[in-house]
């Protein structure tokens, strides 16, 4: 399958090309937004057309009997194991956002009419491991996650590959955070060796008085874009942190929209980006405060360090505000390592190379240390240092 054939096609043509006879409203939404390209705002800094214009082999997503395990394992888009006590099954998605800004969100739903549903009862810690084993493949799947009111869930999302090449993963979740509940999602993704590229297009709805904490740790090379839409109800809260460490000629990052719909909703979005080699980082983040969201508090900040003269950071924090009764701030900085700090370390006998490493690790740690569980914090630190030290030998 070559997805570029869907470029500039009307709804009827899209339906024919995808062999879809029903689900007209999704086809129309996709056709209206179109396949993303260089001029699509959220994809402006990401060479999406190059990824889409490839003949990928397609896979059959036949649900398997799910074995009991200590985590949810999804292999090439199919659930293979899940812990006891969690409801994990495959079904039609009933909560598709009909106002999403991303064409690939709808394409993902069109290609995956049945989604993996994860329903978490009570307070829980859940680990999700995504495994990819197929080369030159288009792996498309979606996950729907929901929790119970007044409960607290922590999810750890990790990615692994077999020895593969040139695969494209279209993935995403639709997440519904129930009233008075909390969901923390810690995502760690290290990529290298052109094994796979990814566009993950998500939608998170945060109900009244609920809170979602998203901590994203994206390390290494290759191409990946996380497209995120978060909607906040009354007194709802989102705390989103993004740490990017990229090397080689990687292009990765986040394009997000956080939409305040309810009164007294609050958002905090922090991005720390470290770019090495010829890497390009993307942080295209909009916070929109709607007429209905009086007394909102919104804070957005992006700090980037360029370790190489050819590294580039596309940092675009934006606020779109339709009311007066709110507190909002945003800012972005991009620069080199602080020379005063470097010199201070050197003046104590620490070599320039080691001092540089210490400062980069320290910059990353300010976000890594916001992960509460120390075991996972250490795991993320190790993953970061492994990638960073491999790129900065000497």
């Amino acid at each position: 399958m070559n997805l570029i054939t869907l470029k500039n096609k009307n709804a009827e043509e899209v339906a024919t090309l995808l062999g879809i006879k029903e689900r007209n409203s999704l086809v129309e939404k996709f056709a209206a937004l179109g396949l993303p390209h260089k001029m699509t705002e959220e994809y402006h800094y990401f060479d999406v057309e190059k990824l889409l214009d490839v003949d990928y082999k397609t896979l059959n997503y036949v649900p398997k009997s799910i074995e009991e395990g200590d985590k949810i394992e999804i292999v090439d888009g199919v659930v293979t194991t899940a812990p006891k006590g969690l409801r994990v099954y495959t079904d039609v998605c009933e909560n598709i956002d009909m106002e999403h800004f991303d064409g690939l969100y709808y394409l993902g739903h069109l290609l995956s009419p049945r989604v993996i549903k994860i329903e978490v009862d009570g307070d829980a810690h859940v680990e999700i491991l995504h495994k990819y084993t197929q080369s030159d493949a288009l792996i498309n799947y979606r996950v729907e996650i929901s929790n119970q009111a007044n409960r607290h869930v922590t999810m750890y999302e990790n990615f692994e590959t077999a020895d593969i090449k040139n695969t494209l993963v279209l993935y995403g979740y639709d997440m519904h955070i129930a009233q008075d509940s909390t969901l923390r999602m810690v995502r760690l993704q290290t990529m290298s060796g052109n094994a796979y590229s990814m566009v993950s297009s998500h939608k998170i709805t945060v109900a009244k008085n609920a809170s979602v904490v998203l901590k994203n740790f994206d390390f290494g090379g290759d191409q990946a874009l996380q497209v995120l839409k978060v909607e906040l109800g009354e007194y709802a809260h989102v705390d989103a942190g993004h740490l990017l460490y990229l090397n080689d000629d990687s292009k990765r990052g986040t394009a997000s929209q956080i939409i305040h719909r309810g009164e007294h909703s609050t958002s905090k979005q922090v991005a720390k980006n470290i770019l090495d080699g010829q890497a390009r980082g993307i942080f295209d983040a909009l916070i929109r405060v709607e007429h209905t969201a009086k007394f909102t508090k919104a804070e957005q900040n992006a700090n980037s360090i360029l370790l190489h003269e050819k590294a580039y950071m596309a940092s675009k924090p934006q606020l779109e505000i339709y009311i007066d009764e709110l507190e909002a701030s945003h800012g972005a900085t991009t620069g080199q390592l602080d020379e005063k700090q470097l010199f201070y370390l050197q003046s104590r006998g620490i070599s320039y190379i080691e001092a540089r490493k210490i400062l980069v690790v320290a910059f990353a740690n300010t976000l890594i240390e916001t992960v509460k569980d120390t075991r996972h914090q250490e795991r993320i630190k190790d993953a970061f240092e492994q990638v960073f030290y491999a790129s900065n030998k000497g």
């Binding site: 700090q341 010199f343 201070y344 370390l345 050197q346 104590r348 006998g349 620490i350 210490i358 320290a362």
Partner: protein, 249 residues
């Protein structure tokens, strides 16, 4: 015996010539105080000795234990035994103070051909120093200088000095921002290091610190040159007449 010799040193920061043929000889084991008015070049002198990026040396030489240090990187100078206590120590969020101190100490030990210390050995070494300086033990588990008061930052500088045991110690305005109690504790830490072998270069604007750290020599720096060298008896004279009253040697 001279441990450091500065000859006809000329240096600039940006386009501004600051040191204009400065001569100074530091005698091993002695306390040398550099005094002078604002803009005389006191801080530039300390930056030049430790190899700060801002300073461009345009003439002259600095030798330490008979070797020129001008071509050495800042870390090499530190490993050789030169230590600067900064007037304004930088804050480095995310760098744990204990980790930083151990990394610095182990760099030094490696340079000396000694075995590196593990975390437990290092902490044992630290404990007595912390108590002597009136530092709370949690200060070493915090980020380096982040959120430290002026006094805490200066104590942390002295802690580094005690751990790294340098041979030449430059104290740049060590008394600035310190109250009397902090000044006393910092001075005690410094005096503890006075063993007749270590050399101190105390850079100061005011004579107050010299009540606590007794100098052997006073050097008056004016317009990028040392214009007078005398004993401690010069301090009361400076108090009374100011720097304008000094006649060049």
């Amino acid at each position: 015996m001279s441990i450091m010799k500065i000859e006809n040193l000329e240096a600039k920061i940006g386009d501004k010539n600051i040191l204009k043929g400065l001569n100074l000889e530091l005698e091993a084991g002695k306390v040398h105080a550099i005094m002078g008015p604002n803009g005389a070049g006191k801080s530039t002198l300390s930056k030049t000795i430790v190899g700060h990026y801002d300073v461009e040396v345009t003439g002259g030489d600095i030798t330490f234990k008979g070797k020129s240090i001008l071509e050495m990187d800042p870390e090499e100078r530190a490993l050789e035994g030169i230590f600067l206590s900064f007037q304004h120590p930088v804050e480095i969020p995310g760098v744990n103070n204990a980790y930083f101190l151990r990394t610095a100490l182990n760099a030094k030990r490696k340079h000396q051909g000694k075995e590196e210390l593990n975390a437990a050995e290092f902490l044992r070494e630290m404990k007595s120093h912390l108590a002597d300086l009136g530092m709370k033990s949690d200060m070493i588990s915090r980020s380096l200088n982040e959120g430290f008061s002026g006094g805490e930052k200066k104590r942390n500088e002295i802690l580094q000095m005690l751990i790294l045991e340098p041979e030449v110690i430059i104290l740049d305005e060590i008394d600035s921002g310190l109250d009397i109690d902090a000044l006393r504790q910092v001075s005690e830490g410094i005096n503890k290091m006075k063993d007749g072998k270590r050399t101190f270069l105390v850079i100061t604007h005011y004579s107050r610190i010299l009540d606590y750290i007794e100098p052997d020599y006073i050097h008056v720096l004016k317009d990028g040159k040392v214009i007078k060298t005398a004993g401690a008896e010069l301090v009361p004279y400076l108090e009374e007449h100011g720097y304008d009253g000094i006649k060049e040697d």
